[in-house]
């Protein structure tokens, strides 16, 4: 597949006002609004086009599987620090478009924090290049980071440059028996100390804590924190990252992003707490969940659900009228005819 093919597909859709649904590996078909439009499969546009380990960046075409990227990085002892899942062939473009990050997000940052540049095909079929391959670039508006999490509604990500980081020298996982309230308290307390905590996961009375860094620092932190040292910790974090852990097994799954110090809302169905307390997963139909999350200063995403429920609730928390109007104007700035992934982010555009 070539870039020209993508450009031509978008141009002809633009000319005929035909909605397109952009798809990488389709590992995320369940996520967001319902799928609409003709399929634009970009998985064939693949390949790593640049990798400079000492400059800490990697450039890949959108269809490149994350597994390929991570294998190449691993050869040089490097990684995608936001730990995106490789679930069933996820691609670089889909990963950035979906904007979801894995367990290391609490320490390293989210997808958007690692996007240095994008090559984008906008809704009228123009190829636009924003950002670049250098760490610092403040020339013009930062469109590259805006694209992260935009679910393909602002353009087809043709190519993306990501900042990469060295893998930590040492890693250890500790396990503590704590209820949810104690776990949140501990996580926030530890978060304010210079400890090399790189991931946390609470489920059914057990808190898993991963420490990463220099060997001596990890050992010192282990001595200070106590807990029991985990066996099979790699397997554990892998199952969290890929959401294969039983905590995520539910037909209806809600993702709540909250201030890490927010108390647990008075709802049943708490399945897991990640990111130092800031990410909480709930199972089951919950009429009150959006309001509760908003009151606590966060938002709730209907992460996985049957179509009927997604239609009823919308996948993402509603925007204020002022913000919605702004979103529409931005959408129009990139996709004047609204042909790219309509309704995937919000029903209104």
């Amino acid at each position: 597949m070539t870039l020209d093919k993508i450009v031509l597909a978008v141009r002809s859709a633009h000319a005929s006002h035909t909605p397109l649904r952009i798809r990488g590996a389709g590992s995320k078909d369940f996520y967001g609004g319902l799928l609409a439009g003709d399929l634009l499969d970009v998985s064939g546009y693949r390949g790593i086009t640049a990798y400079e380990p000492t400059e800490l960046y990697m450039t890949a075409r959108c269809g490149t599987p994350l597994s390929e990227i991570e294998a190449v990085l691993a050869e040089k002892g490097q990684m995608l620090a936001f730990e995106p899942p490789q679930f069933s062939g996820a691609t670089a473009g889909g990963c950035v478009a979906a904007g979801l990050s894995g367990p290391r997000r609490q320490q390293a940052g989210a997808v958007r924090d690692f996007v240095l540049g994008v090559k984008l095909v906008d809704g009228s079929g123009q190829v636009l290049k924003f950002g670049g391959q250098v760490m610092k670039n403040v020339a013009g508006y930062d469109v590259s980071r805006l694209i992260a999490g935009s679910l393909g509604t602002l353009g087809v990500i043709a190519e993306v440059t990501l900042k990469v980081l060295p893998k930590p020298v040492a890693e250890q996982t500790l396990v503590f028996a704590l209820d949810q309230t104690e776990a949140l308290k501990k996580l926030n307390h530890w978060g304010g100390q210079p400890l090399p905590i790189s991931a946390s996961f609470w489920h059914q009375g057990q808190l898993w804590l991963r420490l990463s860094g220099a060997g001596a620092a990890v050992e010192a932190a282990c001595r200070k924190l106590g807990g029991t040292s985990a066996v099979n910790s790699d397997q554990h974090w892998h199952s969290v990252r890929e959401q294969a852990h039983p905590a995520f097994a539910s037909d209806v799954l809600w993702r709540l992003a909250l201030p890490s110090t927010a108390p647990c809302p008075g709802l049943d169905g708490l399945r897991a707490i990640e990111w130092g307390g800031a990410l909480r997963w709930y199972a089951g139909e919950q009429a009150a969940i959006r309001g509760a999350a908003a009151r606590l200063g966060g938002h709730a995403v209907l992460y996985r659900a049957p179509e009927s429920l997604r239609c009823l609730e919308g996948a993402f928390a509603p925007l204020s009228p002022a913000l919605l109007a702004l979103h529409r104007r931005l959408k129009k700035a990139f996709d004047p005819k609204g042909i790219l992934n309509p309704g995937r982010l919000y029903a209104e555009f």
Partner: protein, 493 residues
């Protein structure tokens, strides 16, 4: 759409009358002598007097000023401390300067949640000072941190010595309150790790006051490392020093700071700060490690090994906090130190891929001869962000024009080498022509559409950051795509 520069015709007395109805007398400056201190920011080569300076004290007043300017069609330039180095806060002759200097309160420091809520006029360093009792600090530390404000930092996406490891402003801000030119209030981001919808925080940070006026900022605070130590290494060749930087990264080390100074820069600062710099070295590297004592000891040992292998001619490790600060003092004071040995200097801000460093430095040496001006180089070596300091004398005819051309050539070479015309100081008015080198017409058009989505009337900081297509055509950098020329009616030269 923005193919030409907008033209504004402001009725000065009508404007003054209107502003007097919404601001008390002590919040409004309209006499020329009162306006004078606002005529430029840190880039003093470009000056302009505004028609008025508004110094509101409440958010309601900010909204009123913006609404009224919108109604009257008057341009508005927001201003923090005015330390910007690209003329971003330079006034508009037909407009008002909206100073946020009186919004200087730290509203809340939350130890438990590790964040601070501050007004935009709060100085960068004041945030870390307020967080210090809790063992926390605000990581982005521009060298101007004693003076520059959080509002300015947000508008410029400022960075500092720590940003290789701890990120830029964009990585450390959780939420902002923004007022549009129409006076509408937007809450962008939250105290949660992400927010619903587009990542507007990423778009607004670094937007140089073009999209909205920031009235409140929530920043992330991070635990202060227990210990920091710095290694200072001398090199007899700048290329070797550049390779040493690459070798450190290749060894899997991300130092808390990694800075380089060339010989003219160390020669300028040493008499001033007495840091003990090796004056014979062609370049010195400062490499900081922070963390727990165990972590620092391990990292310093590894860095030292790498630097030795890379051919360092001398290596010193700070043995006390006082010594660490002394090692840094020279780097931190490099601008004022150069300012002492030359009547004027022009600070550039380009980013290049690190591996092109030697190439860039030798090109700069050539430009020194070509323009007959000296240049000292200090830079954030870890991320390839160069700050060449071009020395000139504004009182000599033609000197500034040569300095300006020298700077433009450095920026254009930065783009040609795969970098950017600005790593942290912004485009402002200064680098507006070089934007035509870095971006082609379709991207510039996209920027104008983004601007219009926030500020349709184009009244916020007009003429800055994103050039009109007309301007690029005049500058001779209009890119031609598929053979079709955008403005066939315009003359090209």
């Amino acid at each position: 759409m923005s193919s030409t520069e907008p033209v504004f015709q402001t009725d000065r007395s009508a404007l003054a009358r209107r502003l007097k109805t919404i601001l008390p007398p002590h919040c409004l400056l309209i006499d020329e002598e009162d306006l004078r201190p606002y005529e430029c920011d840190g880039l003093t080569a470009y000056r302009e007097l505004p028609m008025a300076v508004c110094l509101p004290e409440t958010e309601g007043q900010v909204i009123d000023v913006l609404r009224n300017c919108h109604q009257l069609g008057v341009p508005v330039v927001a201003r923090g401390a005015g330390t910007g180095l690209s003329g971003g806060a330079m006034p508009h002759a037909q407009g008002v300067v909206l100073s946020l200097a009186r919004f200087n309160k730290i509203l809340r420091v939350d130890r438990e949640a590790r964040l601070a809520v501050v007004q935009p006029g709060v100085r960068n360093l004041a945030v870390s000072e307020a967080a210090a009792p809790f063992g926390l600090y605000y990581a982005p530390d521009p060298s101007s941190q004693i003076a520059c404000t959080l509002g300015g930092n947000v508008a410029e996406n400022s960075g500092g010595v720590h940003c290789l490891k701890y990120g830029l402003t964009v990585h450390n801000v959780l939420r902002i309150r923004v007022i549009s030119i129409e006076g509408e209030v937007f809450e962008i981001g939250s105290e949660a790790p992400d927010a619903a919808g587009y990542d507007l925080l990423a778009l607004l940070i670094g937007s140089e006051g073009m999209l909205g006026v920031v009235t409140e900022v929530t920043v992330k605070l991070v635990p202060k490392p227990e210990l920091a130590q710095v290694v200072m290494a001398s090199f007899d060749d700048v290329a070797k020093a550049g390779d040493a930087v690459a070798a450190i990264i290749a060894a899997g080390i991300i130092p808390a700071g990694l800075e380089m100074m060339d010989k003219p820069a160390t020669a300028a600062v040493e008499p001033f700060v007495k840091a003990g710099y090796d004056l014979n070295a062609e370049a010195i590297l400062l490499c900081e490690s922070d963390g727990t004592p165990e972590e620092v000891a391990e990292e310093i040992a590894r860095v030292t090994e790498v630097l030795n292998a890379a051919g360092a001619s001398e290596i010193r490790v700070s043995q006390s906090e006082a010594e660490r600060l002394r090692f840094w003092a020279g780097r931190k004071a490099a601008f004022p130190a150069v300012g002492r040995i030359t009547p004027d200097y022009y600070c550039m801000d380009g980013t290049i891929p690190r591996k092109r460093l030697a190439e860039m430095l030798s090109a700069i040496a050539g430009m020194e001869i070509k323009y007959g001006l000296r240049c000292a180089n200090v830079f954030h070596a870890g991320d390839g962000n160069l700050h060449p300091l071009i020395m000139y004398d504004a009182s000599q005819p033609g000197n500034w024009e040569r300095a300006e051309a020298f700077g433009a050539e450095i920026l254009e070479l930065s783009v040609a080498l795969g970098g950017s015309i600005t790593g942290e100081h912004g485009v402002g008015i200064e680098k507006i022509n070089q934007m035509c080198s870095q971006y082609a017409t379709p991207e510039l058009e996209a920027f104008h559409r983004i601007k219009a989505a926030f500020d349709e009337s184009g009244l916020l900081n007009p003429g800055k950051a994103v050039p009109s297509l007309h301007r690029c055509a005049e500058y001779g950098r209009m890119h031609v795509h598929h053979g079709d020329v955008k403005f066939p009616e315009l003359e090209r030269f």
